[in-house]
Symmetry: C2
């Protein structure tokens, strides 16, 4: 993998778009989230409205369920939503024709096929022409109640364990953590059912949540993501399907979409 990254060309990478990047600021550091407006445009827009109106500032990570999700927002449902929408259409699937798609060759338990689109893990059902984001480790979604339109982005979660694929097509995924997953995944687990903290004091406070475009340039985290439709990414996928390191004696010759790393690296100074 290191060889492939070293041999990649600058055109194999793209910088994060500051207008579609969020910073979740914790006492332990910054979590960087790349948003996915192509898959959930209204959810992404609403989350940006909430962020820009300071909704998340002073709230907390209130739920950490082992091998499932870390969730943050307004667990007590007390904070006004400002100008943001209260309900949103269920943006759980999209028309497959509307998204680029680099297909993986291997079978998947949950979907006809899987692959990558714009740096995100995607599943597809060609028979009905639909595609959807996959709940892999690090993906960020929108909590909702039983009504499919009850989510509005005021409760967000990140996957911190085995991909909970049963959530696919049941919730709006809005992006992916591209830096700082360890800060979420290493939080103490909540002791109440579903991983909520028993005592509000145990919650990890959110210092602030910001759209990167609203943060002065020098304070931004300058990252670039490998293009998942690049030749380098295809090489990387193959190198992970069949590990060539001497340690591996039985290469799998297969890979699950959630086992493919999507490389992220600091931008070179010259490219900033």
């Amino acid at each position: 993998m290191a060889e492939i990254l070293a041999a990649s060309k600058p055109s194999d990478w793209r910088a994060l778009d500051p207008e579609n990047t969020l910073y979740l600021e914790l006492a332990t550091g910054r979590v960087v989230i790349e948003l996915a407006p192509r898959f959930a445009p209204q959810h992404v827009a609403n989350i940006k409205t909430l962020v820009r109106e300071g909704f998340f500032d002073g709230l907390a990570i209130d739920r950490v369920q082992d091998n499932f999700v870390a969730q943050w927002g307004d667990a007590d449902n007390k904070k006004p939503l400002g100008t943001a929408e209260r309900t949103l259409p269920a943006e759980f699937i999209v028309a497959a024709k509307d998204v680029t798609y680099a297909r993986l060759p291997d079978p998947d338990t949950y979907a006809s096929d899987t692959g990558f689109s714009g740096g995100l893990p995607v599943a597809r059902d060609p028979k009905i022409g639909r595609a959807w984001l996959v709940h892999c480790y690090g993906m960020v979604g929108v909590g909702r109640g039983d009504d499919v339109e009850s989510g509005n982005g005021s409760e967000l979660y990140a996957v911190i364990g085995q991909a909970p694929r049963q959530l696919d097509r049941n919730a709006a995924l809005v992006g992916r953590v591209v830096q700082g997953m360890d800060l979420l995944a290493s939080l103490p687990r909540g002791g109440s059912p579903l991983g909520f903290y028993k005592d509000p004091q145990q919650r990890m406070p959110i210092k602030s949540m910001r759209v990167a475009a609203d943060v002065p340039g020098p304070q931004r985290t300058q990252l670039e993501v490998m293009n998942t439709d690049s030749h380098s990414f295809a090489e990387l996928v193959e190198s992970r399907r069949n590990r060539r390191e001497p340690w591996y004696k039985v290469p799998a010759d297969r890979i699950d979409v959630c086992n493919v790393p999507i490389p992220v690296r600091p931008m070179s100074k010259s490219a900033q």
Copy 2:
């Protein structure tokens, strides 16, 4: 799931065998590991020798790699192994005919089929008559060098993220964490390559590691595990393949072997 657990019969459960249960004692609490002697008998025996000779006492969790493993033992390779073996046969696969097998109906990316045997996730290749334990969340394995016989149990790891199925058939899995996974999964990640801690001071010390049979009865953690060949477990699998809670609008009608919870509960006082 709660309904199925409530309706289960006492015969659907079995108590942990104290002779094949390990306690990893940390400052934060006890991690309980059920061993799998049927799949890796010589590794299990060697680990028990190491444990009984106090090998792990005072060592530490020295590696925590995000979305991969937490590993403990003697990273510095300085501590004598006592009477334990230095090398062991590669117990990575077994004859399928030697293990019971409750098959899952759904396709798997990595294996011909998957299921459960004695409370453990298993994959199988009926064509060659082989079966092996699967690297799901919470499974415990034996670190080794490039030589397949170089593992001896003095470095152990537990899976703390997306199932690293590329390790299947490449390493000896020796059991599963049945309580305390949160203590391992919430540890700070190591900052060096592969998740090793930069500073030995950052390591989580191991107070002791014990075979449950060597611990006085009142100090044991009395747990029972659902029999994976029981009718209740089959019902549970089906309830997880198609979630009936009102929140779920699109039941998956599928499940990955690593998404099936294997229930563990405190033993009733009367059964102890």
